[in-house]
Symmetry: C2
Subunit: 672 residues, 2 copies
């Protein structure tokens, strides 16, 4: 539909949509950077969505039963900010809009979760929004099954662009959502046929309708500039079975006389003259950031239209028993059941006594056997490695279209999609996600794992087969640099527990995080229980601690993690046999050790002894602890990997790569 027709036939709609477009143009111009074209293209669709379909109450952005709105095409952030401002979300003031992309403003270049209420997830890296939305939709279905439709009955709406659909992660999301028949998920495709490098066809000729239909989606289409046609499509979408793609045919930079329908409108300010010309065409005679009172109040009416529904919901909620309300609140806010601490303590005590020799992946399964019954909000899963990651405890049923009460997701061979879905599960609320794959395949999931860290999502990544210790599968499956990668990532706890007790402690810490994801790097191979003397204290919480003290004068300190702690202890035996006093320090979590006060760090790693760190991985994260935080603490060496691994039985690999008690002892003695 062209602008003249639109203005003539839908004057109210046109004003509402023009307000979005004007704000987008003005804010990008003021910031002298940003993406005006996408908000201008999708303003009509967004207006119809917010006006007629989205269930929300701008005065209560955290209402648990609101529809979720995800701007997967995050570069179009001004679309979202404009909507939040216009509909009356308190935090999104006009000043915030004016300070778009400036230091201290909450209106970041791309929408950042936690900056503004109403921003349901961080987007910008393409394909993440649509994939995160799948997790949100799963969470809604899970909560609906557990708490009933009267409390939980809403949708997740996504706006996605061509970029989102070209990214591989989107296929993982499409496949997962299709298999799960998520009728509560509706994706609005901003089909403007423009990418940064030109027309979509220069890099892709995929028939998106056919592609989505292939995975069981319903596909609808509309003229993305015709409010009636949009409304018809959205109305139909809500009634469809399974997830829905709505193909919204739009023009990027709609109305801009010289830049519409071209990349020129995508990623740069239009310029004052072009803005003036565009506003002329819009019939929008208002200055920068100026929204006429009637338009603002019409938008605010939209922002408050959900208040009644919200009030009815609140009445239903308040009619519940206090216990049920409290449990709902607990799960929605993500606080951890009080039962957990005692259950973990009991488990640790039993294991210290039984002292099993088990792989830490098995230990993790044993701990999950305690966690999952105590925490009904956990949703576990694996990227098709359930029997290897040991992520499915016996009490968990599979979540699928026939059983929404199931708490285990078969994510399929989709590591990236799994990680993004885990983000969505947490962001939706009511669910605490964990998921597993091989540690090496962190590589596949990195994009979404980084967003866990950036958003502060306490997802738990159960990463088994954590070193050359996995053996025969060889270097493609053997992580070498991945501990360094996780440790280099801000706001990420990287655990590599040494035995069943440390595994329980690591899980306890991971489960009680509110804003930090955890990576558990777990062994394939069996490891003895080292912590055979029970303590209620969570030693892993210290990050590093003395697991075996030197006998006699302390001449050496060995640091190790995971499966290498056992090897370090054997090296200590060799050294002590030669009267070389050797302390062994277990370092299950460097990030937590770095957070301890200096006195504790010095107590664990005092000067005056040579140091050897042992880890079947690259040295990079160890220099800080080896060389001393102050850089003058004595001689040091490293036993680990400096190149990729190889395919052979694990014991042979450890021997060939020189990660042995003998090699450690030799390095110590060479420095004495």
């Amino acid at each position: 539909m062209d602008i003249a027709t639109l203005r003539a036939q839908h004057p109210d709609h046109w004003k509402l949509a023009s307000a979005i477009r004007a704000l987008a143009m003005d804010a990008v111009q003021a910031a002298n950077s940003g993406h005006p074209g996408m908000p201008m293209g999708m303003a009509d669709v967004a207006t119809v969505l917010f006006r007629n379909h989205l269930k929300f109450d701008a005065s209560a952005p955290n209402w648990a039963d609101r529809d979720r709105f995800v701007l997967s095409a995050g570069h179009g952030s001004m679309l979202l900010y404009a909507l939040l401002y216009l509909t009356g979300y308190k935090q999104t003031t006009l000043d915030e809009i004016k300070n778009f992309r400036q230091w201290g403003a909450r209106t970041a270049g791309h929408p950042e979760y936690g900056h503004l209420e109403g921003v349901e997830t961080t987007t910008g890296p393409l394909g993440q929004g649509i994939s995160t939305a799948v997790g949100m939709a799963i969470a809604e279905q899970s909560m609906q099954a557990r708490f009933g439709k009267k409390l939980v009955d809403h949708r997740t709406w996504v706006i996605a662009g061509d970029g989102c659909l070209m990214e591989g992660i989107s296929q993982e999301a499409i496949g997962l959502a299709g298999m799960q028949e998520l009728s509560n998920l509706i994706v609005l495709w901003d089909n403007n046929d423009i990418t940064i490098d030109g027309r979509v066809s220069i890099s892709d000729k995929t028939d998106q309708h056919k592609r989505f239909e292939a995975s069981g989606w319903t596909v609808l289409a509309c003229d993305g500039h015709d409010p009636e046609d949009i409304d018809r499509a959205l109305t139909k979408a809500k009634k469809a079975k399974g997830p829905v793609l709505v193909d919204c045919k739009t023009f990027i930079g709609f109305g801009s006389p010289n830049k519409a329908d071209s990349y020129a409108a995508h990623g740069a300010p239009l310029g004052d003259a072009e803005i003036a010309a565009t506003k002329e065409i819009y019939g929008w005679p208002h200055g920068p950031f100026e929204i006429p009172a009637d338009v603002k109040s019409a938008w605010e009416a939209i922002g408050s239209k959900g208040a009644a529904e919200h009030a009815e919901w609140t009445a239903r909620f308040n009619a519940l028993s206090e216990a049920k309300r409290a449990e709902f609140e607990r799960q929605v806010t993500g606080s951890v059941s009080k039962k957990l601490a005692g259950a973990i303590r009991k488990f640790k005590k039993e294991q210290s006594e039984a002292a099993p020799k088990v792989a830490t992946r098995k230990a993790s399964e044993m701990v999950l056997g305690v966690i999952n019954p105590a925490c009904p909000e956990t949703i576990g899963g694996s990227a098709d490695l359930t029997g290897s990651n040991l992520t499915k405890t016996k009490d968990l049923e599979v979540f699928n279209p026939d059983n929404r009460k199931g708490r285990y997701v078969n994510y399929g061979i989709r590591e990236h999609g799994m990680a993004a879905a885990m983000n969505g599960l947490w962001l939706h609320g009511g669910v605490r996600p964990y998921g597993g794959t091989f540690f090496c395949f962190t590589d596949y999931a990195r994009g979404a794992m980084r967003l866990s860290a950036l958003m502060g999502i306490p997802a738990v990544y159960v990463m088994t087969h954590d070193s050359i210790g996995l053996g025969e599968d060889g270097p493609t499956h053997q992580p070498v640099e991945h501990l360094a990668i996780c440790r280099a990532t801000p706001n990420t706890l990287t655990f590599r527990p040494a035995d069943v007790v440390e595994t329980a402690e690591a899980w306890e810490i991971a489960m009680t995080q509110a804003r930090t994801p955890s990576v558990l790097a777990l062994s394939r191979q069996n490891l003895p229980t080292l912590r055979t003397k029970h303590t209620n204290q969570n030693m892993v919480a210290k990050g590093a601690y003395v697991i075996e003290e030197a006998a006699g004068k302390r001449q050496a300190i060995l640091m190790a993690t995971g499966s290498e702690v056992e090897i370090a202890l054997k090296a200590r035996d060799l050294l002590q046999a030669e009267a070389i006093g050797t302390r062994v320090v277990s370092v299950p979590c460097m990030e937590l050790f770095a957070q301890q006060d200096e006195a504790y760090r010095r107590k664990v790693l005092p000067a005056g002894a040579v140091r050897v760190a042992v880890e079947a991985a690259v040295r990079q994260p160890w220099d800080r602890w080896l060389l001393g935080e102050r850089g003058r603490e004595g001689k040091a060496d490293f036993v680990g990997m400096s190149d990729f691994g190889a395919s052979a039985p694990a014991d042979r690999l450890y021997a060939e790569f020189g990660i042995t008690p003998e090699a450690i002892a030799a390095k110590v003695k060479a420095m004495l």
Copy 2:
């Protein structure tokens, strides 16, 4: 087709295929680990492919015009090893088969490029093979356009499983191959309906026919156990326009009485009893690793059937002029044009004199303006950020179905697919690939970038927008941990040049690598030329060097990379103004610095001065250089990032995060 029919109707075929199956069962059993089910399922398809369709000569594994065969489902490595052994590839001896998955054997758990001739690429991480194959097919078309059909006219065949198709990267490959109309690419889908966790339907219900067709592929189907039907499909596939998917309906572990068609056959030895029972069903009364002479010689005849065609090709090749032969050989073997060194030297001299103030991404474009004309084998590209990565020089035309001579690939918004395709371009030979995206989206490409390093592929990753210096796009786009990630990865050169001259030197090193990929981390923002005094020597090759000496007594050493070298030099000015002698060391490549001899390293970083490293990224890779390789070299501090970035103009970010000359000078003074 069932086994009885197969044996009766196709006895010769059956024996050939049985040899593969028997070897797979025996080798996995002997190794006590591995994946027998997939080779057993796909043996019939592979037999027909090698017998009737694949153009190869086992005595000449590196024949440039051979068909490429990619086992994307790399866990089925015994299928490939069995084929190589049976057809007579010299390196694949029976002893190698017997030593499957053992230390020192070339028959690794997953096929490793470089271990055995005939292994065209490393596979195992799912989805990589099919995506790498797209690069191979592009390389073939590029070479064919440049050298003619008489020299280059072959296909790339892929065997892919459900796992490959579920990984997101496969969609990127499917979309790219479809758009490029790669008629020389045929994917054989091992449609056995089994994944590790169970039936495919527990995690995916995608109609793969529809999905591939949506991207312009031809889809054919066959009974994967009926040689005539397979042959019919493969014959048809070769005639189709555009890429082809052949849906081969198979049974995993075909013939195993108790484990066929179930996950039990996937990833573990069948056991002696089950092997015996299976061989009984096969009518294969031979002991472990025993191949009857008639079967072996039938297979060897298949291995040599391409010799005649190869001889004809050699005759055509030898009829060429010596110059043309030499150029073909040079490109196929990947050696660098002799013109390059002089051209780079000239460029450096000009730039040292002109001293432009340009972003290093712009500098990279300028260098490419020298490289691309000198090296006709380069194929550049970008994941839809051409105007930002500045990867397309004016002389490059776009590679597409209408112009196979084009040397620039619009990869689309497919970072992972691009990196995998780059691997394939190199592996095919005749092409030297580079490709760009934002440095932060290393996250998306990691899986394939790791394989570049593992395989020793000298791809060049042009990663622009390398820090908070990109400004307003905010933390989702600002790399912080990515330098640490690349530096932690074995066999990867990570360059962060400080100006146009260092950029040229980094490119020269990257272009002359034979077995190591390079990552160029390049600035968005303009940087002054620091190296205004020309030297023919490639200083970046030293990894680190003194860019500005201390005046007077040396009290401080500042180390920095990229855009922070300018800041360090300004800090030096402040310190020297207070008579604090300060050396500045530029560290464009830590890996190369680590390779220098100790004398040089000590000369650049002598003891006796306080050290501050400056990099707008996390500290992890710096401790080694800050704290001293021997851990006793004096006080040290770091100026950089410890958390994610923010959205604001770049200058403001540097000021707010304290990466300023003043902050550096203050840290130095606090230690004196």
